[in-house]
Amino acid sequence: MGKKEILKNDENCAGCMLCVLSCSLFNFGVFSTEKSFIKLDKDDRTQRFTLSFDDGCISCGECVKSCKYNALMWKDEDSRN
């Protein structure tokens, strides 16, 4: 089966970084904004946020699980099962 796809919605992102933290803890065992496969670009003046995925992302879904603002979701909701 191919890699599951994670979709993002930057409009909903609140900039909390929980996805970045959860990714690096799950995949690297530490909290690291550098190592995390998901990156958050913040415009602090306007509080606008842009999410992006590094090539290394394995679609483990930790970021989706951690997001409480509906900014990250599975492309096909059923694929989580």
Partner: protein, 632 residues
């Protein structure tokens, strides 16, 4: 635990590493209190170069423990006493990602500078380009120079000019607002600190860490206050404060305002201004909001807010009706780097002086009035820049009132700190007693109970009603023995002095681990859950009682610091207005406070701490808590 020490005079830096400090003082306010207590001469002026300024992230900050974003700044305040302020956003985590827990700023630079900190060390850079600029411009420039993802703590013109209630701004919209720490930073010729580190943060026991984090998240997100805190943020209480009659309107002369809900209520904010939610680092609550003004003279203005403090201070205390005007005044305070609460207090006092004929138009340059946006806006600027009458009023209420004989009654400060929002005549509860017991002076944020509500009740000074059912109470993370002591067995009502002591310990712990104090956290997370998280993160074996003893030690050290600076019992008092005058509100009239009963409650609170009737700490208490007394 790693402390970065920056000596501005020697233009040098070093590190202190000491793991024992974390187990004794945790981090955040706990660590800062210890460092201030041990290292600050009690006889100096707050602007003396020997004063110290500490920034410590909470022990959980940098991880994904929900709401763990908070950082504490602490110093000998320009009030003359213990000064400390807490802030969220991304700064606390940025400190941790530099591989440190705390920054200790010593000495004074000869010329204006800023410091750049990362995982490799510190660079002290020339600050002449940013000195004199507002905080938004400063952050813009420093992000351009040091990297877009740099977190910046900076001061505005008010801090440079020694305004005694100057803030340190955290990014654009967060503040270390209270107790004038921006003026201490300005006295050191330090315009800003920039953090941009990429270090990693480790977890001692990952499996148990995942479990406790899940528990904390579920507790916070299942709190009945979660939904409305996301939706309205702090604005949730705007309407009910009016109904209870605890607004500080026109310098605490009206407890409610007729058109309040229609003009400054939470629905108006939500329907007319709120655009979207945003959050501090690691926070699933998202109580911050981004707002936009869509019409009128401020059309197009986009900013953070509304926070209820803004609307209570600028809207009620100063009587400004129009929300865009409130946004504009708050943004000016943020840009100039001044605490919104103290600024409003000082201006309200100035206007009342003018109304009473104790200040003349010629003294000010115009006729100030409550509700007058232009006047307020101009006064904010004059105070920050110490221009005209602003030169005096930038000294804060305690010093300014010395120049106006007979004005003590309505100069609303406690222990030298301008007092905020809630009128104590409208509601005498744990929170109200906390205005007096708070070690940083007149303030509403350091004594917050996990079990209060906002229903009206009759004043009895010693007790407030318990709003929770036994089932709800069972969910509150509070040691059973303490529950029984404060609430009775079976639980019946809240003993105010007892709860004040517990509530301040709870806040000290939250401010030491770096979690938020918004209701979804305050009502669900207590010493047992915090000790479990500390244990799995750092490998400790702590329990809830050990944490509460640490909190008691920290509070006692803050209080000792104040006593050694000359604090006396008479300063544990509300301004005279509250003992002499009634106040009208929508439900009728609130009577003045009974001084004897207030003092009786204070003494009960002192006794619970092991302090004597005058608030002096007994020798056996110092010994029990293992505090080494300070000697100059």
């Amino acid at each position: 635990m790693k402390i970065l020490v920056i000596d501005l005079e020697k233009e040098d830096y070093s590190y202190i590493e000491d793991e024992n400090l974390r187990s004794k003082y945790i981090g955040g306010v706990g660590l800062n209190t210890y460092l201030l207590y041990r290292n600050t001469d009690r006889t100096i002026d707050p602007f003396d170069e020997k004063n110290n300024l500490f920034f410590s992230s909470g022990a959980f900050v940098g991880t994904n423990i929900p709401t763990a974003s908070r950082c504490e700044a602490t110093s000998l305040s320009p009030t003359g006493y213990f000064g400390s302020s807490n802030s969220g956003g991304g700064l606390g985590a940025a400190i941790k990602f530099c591989g440190i827990d705390c920054v200790w700023v010593k000495g004074k630079s000869r010329t204006p500078v800023y410091v750049k900190i990362d995982g490799k060390g510190v660079i002290i850079r020339d600050g002449s380009e940013i000195w004199g600029r507002d905080t938004f411009e400063t952050v813009d420039i420093l992000k351009r120079k040091e990297g877009k993802d740099t977190e910046v703590a900076s001061i505005g013109v008010a801090g440079e000019k020694g305004v005694r209630f100057a803030s340190i701004q955290n990014g654009y919209y967060h503040s270390f607002g209270r107790t004038g720490l921006g003026a201490v930073m300005g006295s050191k010729n330090l315009k800003a600190l920039c953090f941009n580190g990429k270090e990693e943060i480790k977890v001692k026991d990952r499996k148990r860490f995942l479990k406790i984090t899940k528990t904390l998240r579920e507790k916070i997100m299942s709190s009945d206050s979660f939904g409305y805190t996301r939706r309205y943020g702090s604005m949730v209480v705007s309407d009910v404060y009016n109904r209870l009659g605890i607004l500080p309107a026109y310098n605490f002369r009206m407890g409610s305002l007729k058109n309040w809900e229609a003009t400054r209520g939470r629905k108006v904010f939500e329907e007319k201004f709120k655009e979207r939610d945003f959050a501090c680092f690691a926070c699933p609550i998202g109580c911050l909001h981004w707002s936009k003004v869509k019409d009128g003279k401020f059309s197009g203005l986009e900013t953070h807010g509304l926070e209820v403090t803004y609307v209570l201070e600028m809207g009620a205390r100063l009587g400004i009706i129009d929300i865009p005007e409130i946004f504009s005044c708050v943004e000016l305070c943020n840009r100039l780097g001044m605490d919104v609460i103290s600024t409003s207090s000082v201006i309200a006092y100035l206007i009342e002086l003018f109304e009473k004929g104790m200040l003349r138009e010629a003294d000010i340059g115009f006729k100030p009035a409550f509700g007058g946006f232009k006047n307020v806006h101009t006064l904010i600027s004059m105070i920050a820049r110490r221009e005209g009458i602003g030169a005096l009023f930038g000294e804060g209420l305690r010093r300014t009132k010395e120049h106006f004989k007979g004005s003590d009654d309505f100069a609303c400060e406690i222990k030298g700190l301008e007092m905020p929002v809630r009128d104590p005549r409208g509601r005498f509860d744990t929170w109200t007693l906390g205005y007096l017991t708070n070690t940083r002076g007149g303030d509403h944020l350091r004594v917050r109970t996990p079990v209060d509500d906002l229903r009206d009740f009759e004043r009895d000074y010693e007790h407030e009603p318990l709003p929770l059912t036994p089932d709800e109470l069972a969910l509150v993370d509070m040691p059973e023995a303490i529950k029984e002591k404060i609430l009775g067995n079976p639980p019946s009502s809240i003993h105010i002095p007892g709860m004040a002591k517990y509530a301040e310990e709870l806040i000290v712990l939250l401010n030491s681990v770096g979690m938020c104090i918004r209701p979804p956290v305050l009502r669900t997370i207590g010493p047992s859950l915090m000790s479990e998280a500390l244990n799995v993160l750092y490998g400790y074996e702590m329990d809830e009682n050990m944490l509460l003893t640490i909190a008691e030690r920290i509070i006692t050290m803050e209080h000792l610091f104040n006593l050694e600076r000359g604090l006396t019992f008479k300063e544990f008092s509300f301004p005279e207005r509250f003992y002499k005058e009634s106040v009208d509100y929508v439900g009728g009239k609130r009577l003045p406070l009974d001084r004897e009963r207030v003092e009786a409650m204070l003494r009960k609170y002192f006794a619970l701490h092991g302090w004597d009737d005058e608030g002096r700490v007994k020798k056996e208490t110092i010994e029990r808590l293992g505090i080494t007394p300070w000697k100059n």
